[in-house]
């Protein structure tokens, strides 16, 4: 009985994240359009795009290797698994113990690894630009992320997301400087990792400062669909990560009654919506920065994370 419910919850989580990801992206786009006094496309546009892409045939460059073809699926799988392990509406998922926060970060890392390789595979200059910049950004974003993980994990005494979420909910953590720093760091990292303004501009192509889009330039058809979907999943993942770390309210738990799950789901939807609105607002109000100012941006994140950890190490009360 227990097992069945857990399986159900876990499965539900996986389906939900998959289902919600395009919607979230569509919603963000819609909000941005609104903020920019445009009507914008419907929030379901991403689904239509995906469907169209899936139906189209895939065009491959002559000298595309097997890596180029398999990369999208690997990327998608890695991100999906990662997303499946982040508590969205319920903590204490069945398989949550199979990978902790560090492993999730690493999973995203492997996704990025293959994406960057795919960018280099065709041997075009644009792909190269994209991969090299992506890796440069990542090489700064990942340590910042790890530092953030340190902070949180030290407060919660664990790197297991479910445990952290529970501690954050119940144990009287209270407001902590280091937590705040970590939160800011995570947000900055999230912005960078998802290639949002000001680091990157998801809604543009022919621009020499583009990063993510440059890598996936050669993709088309179902491969592109996979890439798009994984990007949307990644965005969802980050927002739900922020939510479950710093706003873990309403999360259902193993022993809680079935109703709690629906409450959790509702809370989750709300959190996502808020996150999306904030993101859109942020993106409309800030301007894209030069690529070589990105290191400073992420360096700040790294420093914040490190500061938070140091504060914790030095005194456990801050």
């Amino acid at each position: 009985m227990e097992l069945i419910r857990d399986l159900f919850v876990q499965g539900g989580q996986m389906v939900i994240v998959l289902a919600l990801a395009p919607l979230l992206t569509g919603f963000v786009r819609k909000c941005r359009a609104r903020f920019q006094r445009r009507r914008g496309a419907s929030i379901f546009q991403p689904y239509r795009d995906l469907a169209r892409l899936l139906r189209k045939e895939a065009v491959l460059a002559e000298h595309a290797s097997w890596l180029f073809r398999s990369a999208p699926y690997l990327i998608f799988a890695a991100i999906w698994v990662a997303a499946a392990l982040v508590p969205t509406f319920a903590a204490g998922l069945l398989f949550s113990w199979s990978a902790d926060l560090i492993a999730i970060v690493a999973l995203l890392g492997s996704a990025r690894f293959f994406l960057a390789l795919a960018g280099l595979d065709i041997g075009t200059s644009f792909g190269g630009i994209g991969s090299s910049r992506e890796m440069m950004i990542a090489s700064l974003a990942e340590p910042a992320m790890i530092m953030m993980v340190f902070t949180v994990a030290l407060i919660a005494g664990s790197t297991q997301l479910s445990v952290i979420a529970e501690t954050m909910t119940f144990a009287h953590v209270g407001l902590r400087v280091s937590l705040g720093l970590a939160a800011v760091a995570l947000v900055l990292v999230a912005v960078a990792e998802n290639g949002r303004i000001p680091v990157d501009n998801p809604s543009t192509h022919l621009e020499l400062t583009m990063v993510h889009e440059a890598m996936v330039l050669e993709y088309s058809g179902r491969h592109l669909a996979m890439i798009e979907l994984s990007a949307q999943l990644k965005l969802l993942l980050y927002i739900s990560l922020i939510a479950c770390l710093f706003a873990p309210w309403g999360l259902a738990h193993a022993e809680s009654p079935p109703l709690a799950y629906f409450a959790g789901a509702a809370a989750y939807i709300v959190k996502l919506a808020i996150g999306a609105v904030l993101l859109a607002l942020f993106e409309t109000t800030t301007a894209k920065m030069r690529v070589f100012r990105v290191p400073n941006f992420l360096g700040a994140a790294l420093m914040l994370g490190l500061l938070g950890t140091l504060l914790l190490f030095v005194s456990r009360t801050l």
């Binding site: 899936l54 895939a58 065009v59 491959l60 002559e62 290797s65 097997w66 890596l67 699926y73 998608f76 799988a77 890695a78 698994v81 499946a84 398989f95 199979s98 990978a99 902790d100 492993a103 690493a106 999973l107 890392g109 492997s110 990025r112 960057a116 960018g119 280099l120 595979d121 041997g123 075009t124 200059s125 792909g127 190269g128 630009i129 991969s131 090299s132 890796m135 440069m136 990542a138 090489s139 700064l140 974003a141 990942e142 340590p143 992320m145 790890i146 530092m147 994990a153 005494g157 790197t159 297991q160 050669e218 996979m226 690529v291 994370g305 950890t309 140091l310 914790l312 190490f313 030095v314």
Partner: protein, 666 residues
């Protein structure tokens, strides 16, 4: 018994070594020799792997120091490193059965290869200072001979020279360390040393051990020889030097500091941690700047050594404060990384060797597109690259994850210095991991992906079966160690038990072979499930899409934002790939400067971009020493050109001085 087997295999290797001198030039010489070494080292590997759990055994041979004899000792630690050494040795031999065929002058390689293996084996089982140092230096000397085997390039001879100097320096440091440990009475046997812990100058011993073992392992700033020497050797030897010999150095450090040396001071951990962190970051940054494939790999060895020493430093710090389990965790992480690194670094060097034989190129800028010509090699190399970049579910990630877990335990350390340093080290570790990932995107992407940049790369062909077998064996190991880390951890635990008197909780009975360092509530990781999830969901997606959505594929020329495709030389190069990172870190660490010569309008000359970078450790540490030596020798050389009368006056003055001494003294 096990020791007898080990020594017997060493003897067999030495015999093979003598044999090689005779048959090196014959047709089947190389196959015969490498086959022998393969069999012998496989036996030795089995011995080590099985004996890991068993109680220690001793053996004394009537050689070595006359009144002491040669002591040999096989305890779990030795057994572990024995297994690592011989695993590397066996697979390198397997690889070399094929690779050795391409050797131009086998007579310069074959005799020294078995000797090198024998030396490493002896170091691990030696149990008195003399035997240890003899084997140690024997190892260095034979590897030196292998480094200079391609002696017609001046670079290699120079590399060998620098290597030999650093090796001798390290040996002398260890010699001094043992001198302190043994005391004036000369109790050189390790047992004697263990009984009498020399409290005086123990810290000096640590410093000497760091210098001695570190110079061989490649700790910054003693690493300068490594990126020169490792690539100079034939690839299977490079694999051994990078993957295995550096581990022997780690063994030496562990043996001295954890086993022979008495109770540690708290700041030892601090020093080791700082060195490890610096080594990790500097190594990977240096690697990013390289475009010689083998040199890049060599610099990555430096980085991984840094990661291993981070683990060791943590273990020391925990051990001082009696946190047994934490120490065991850190040490396990370090040892596991020793194993992992030896696996994937050998794999990567094999791959580079295959590329070298197929194209005759080590320079990535002249390669590209090899994934089409040599797909199998490419796949194996990709696995290795993913493993060294610490990507789940492969083995590199497990050891780094364990190191992180150990770091999480450090806030409970009482010393402020450690508390302040450890998070920074954590950041450094994360940074090096991320940079390693980007470095291997570059390495694999530029070498194997894209389009061929030169005819050699165009006409490359897949390498031979033995090499492929070796590479795939290692690739499989990368995956297995990543998916079933629990088994490896349990396998190692006797060694940690020996050194820190405690070990991690047994892992092998946990459901789904999860690894749980401390408690499930704290952290857990399950490589197997992650692997299964990824494969399942990927296949699921593929099948679903191919089933319900389109599966049609059309080949066309690359889109590239509509720019018609120019020559392959317009691809992103290694240099351009590393440029953003160089801009971020390089200006400080390499004093990198970019100069753009932009001709005036109407000037026909092409614009030029020149980048100058400095090898800071070399320029600040080694160049001055070399200069000083040459200066002094130039000054002293005047004494060669004096007249007899002046020489006589030396005698005269010496006499006067001594007489004065007598007159004053009595």
């Amino acid at each position: 018994m096990a020791l007898v087997i080990v020594l017997a295999s060493v003897a067999a290797l030495l015999i093979a070594n003598l044999l090689a001198i005779a048959i090196a030039r014959t047709e089947f010489g190389s196959r015969a020799i490498y086959g022998t070494t393969f069999i012998v080292t496989s036996f030795a590997f089995a011995t080590g792997a099985i004996r890991l759990g068993a109680p220690a055994s001793d053996l004394v041979l009537p050689i070595g120091l006359p009144w002491l004899g040669a002591h040999f000792h096989l305890d779990p630690l030795a057994a572990f490193f024995l297994a690592v050494v011989n695993l590397g040795g066996a697979i390198a031999s397997l690889y070399a059965i094929g690779y050795g065929e391409h050797e131009a002058e086998p007579a310069r390689v074959l005799p020294f290869f078995p000797a090198f293996l024998a030396g490493m084996n002896l170091v691990v089982v030696a149990a008195d200072a003399f035997t240890f140092l003899v084997s140690w230096e024997f190892m260095s000397l034979s590897s030196w001979a292998l480094v200079v085997s391609h002696h017609r390039e001046r670079e290699n001879v120079r590399a060998g020279y620098i290597y030999l100097i650093m090796a001798s320096f390290g040996t002398f440091c260890l010699l001094l360390a043992f001198g302190l440990l043994a005391g004036a009475s000369g109790g050189y046997a390790f047992d004697t040393i263990r009984q009498s812990h020399p409290q005086a100058l123990a810290s000096l011993v640590l410093v000497l051990a760091l210098l001695g073992a570190g110079s061989k392992a490649g700790l910054v700033p003693l690493h300068v020889w490594l990126p020169l020497a490792h690539p100079a050797a034939p690839s299977h030897v490079s694999a051994l030097m990078s993957g295995v010999m550096t581990k022997v150095a780690v063994y030496a450090f562990i043996r001295i500091v954890f086993d022979l040396l008495g109770p540690p001071e708290w700041w030892w951990g601090l020093v080791v941690l700082a060195l490890g962190g610096a080594t990790a970051v500097l190594g990977v940054l240096q690697a990013l700047m390289q475009h010689d494939l083998k040199r890049l790999l060599a610099y990555h060895t430096v980085e991984n050594i840094g990661i291993i020493f981070i683990g060791l430093g943590l273990a020391l710090a925990f051990r001082v404060n009696g946190m047994v389990f934490a120490a065991a965790l850190a040490l396990t992480a370090a040892l596991l990384h020793v194993l992992n690194h030896s696996v994937f670094k050998s794999l990567l060097f094999f791959g580079s060797g295959a590329v070298l034989t197929a194209t005759g190129e080590r320079d990535m800028e002249h390669l590209g597109g090899l994934i089409h010509r040599m797909p199998k090699t490419a796949f194996a190399f990709l696995v290795g690259a993913a493993a060294i970049s610490a990507l789940p579910p492969l083995n590199g990630f497990v050891s780094e994850w364990l190191t992180f877990q150990a770091i999480f335990l450090s806030p409970t350390l009482p010393q402020w210095g450690l508390r302040l340093l450890v998070p920074v080290i954590g950041a450094a570790l994360a940074l090096s991991a991320a940079l390693a990932a980007s470095c291997f995107v570059k390495a694999f992407g530029i070498t194997f992906l894209g389009r061929a940049r030169t005819p050699q790369a165009e006409q490359a062909a897949e390498t031979d079966g033995f090499s492929l077998a070796a590479m795939f064996a290692l690739a499989a190991l990368c995956l297995l160690l990543g998916v079933f880390p629990g088994l490896a951890i349990d396998w190692i635990s006797p060694a940690t038990g020996l050194l820190v008197h405690g070990h991690m909780p047994a892992q092998r009975f946990l459901p789904w072979l999860t690894i749980i360092p401390i408690a499930e509530s704290r952290s857990s990781y399950n490589g197997l499930l992650v692997f299964l999830f990824i494969t399942i969901s990927a296949t699921l997606m593929v099948s679903a899409i191919h089933r319900f959505a389109s599966r049609a594929v059309r080949r066309a020329s690359a889109w590239d934002c509509g720019t018609p495709n120019a020559s392959p030389l317009l691809q992103y190069t290694a240099g351009s790939f590393a440029q953003p990172i160089r801009r971020v870190f390089g200006t400080v660490i390499f004093r990198a400067r970019e100069r753009v010569a932009m001709p005036l309008p109407g000037d026909a000359r092409p614009a030029a971009l020149a980048v100058e970078m400095h090898d800071v450790p070399w320029e600040t540490l080694y160049a001055p020493i070399a200069f000083a030596v040459s200066m002094v020798s130039r000054r002293l050389n005047a004494f060669q050109f004096l007249t007899i009368r002046q020489y006589l006056s030396f005698v005269f003055f010496a006499l006067i001085v001594l007489l004065l001494g007598i007159a004053i003294w009595s």
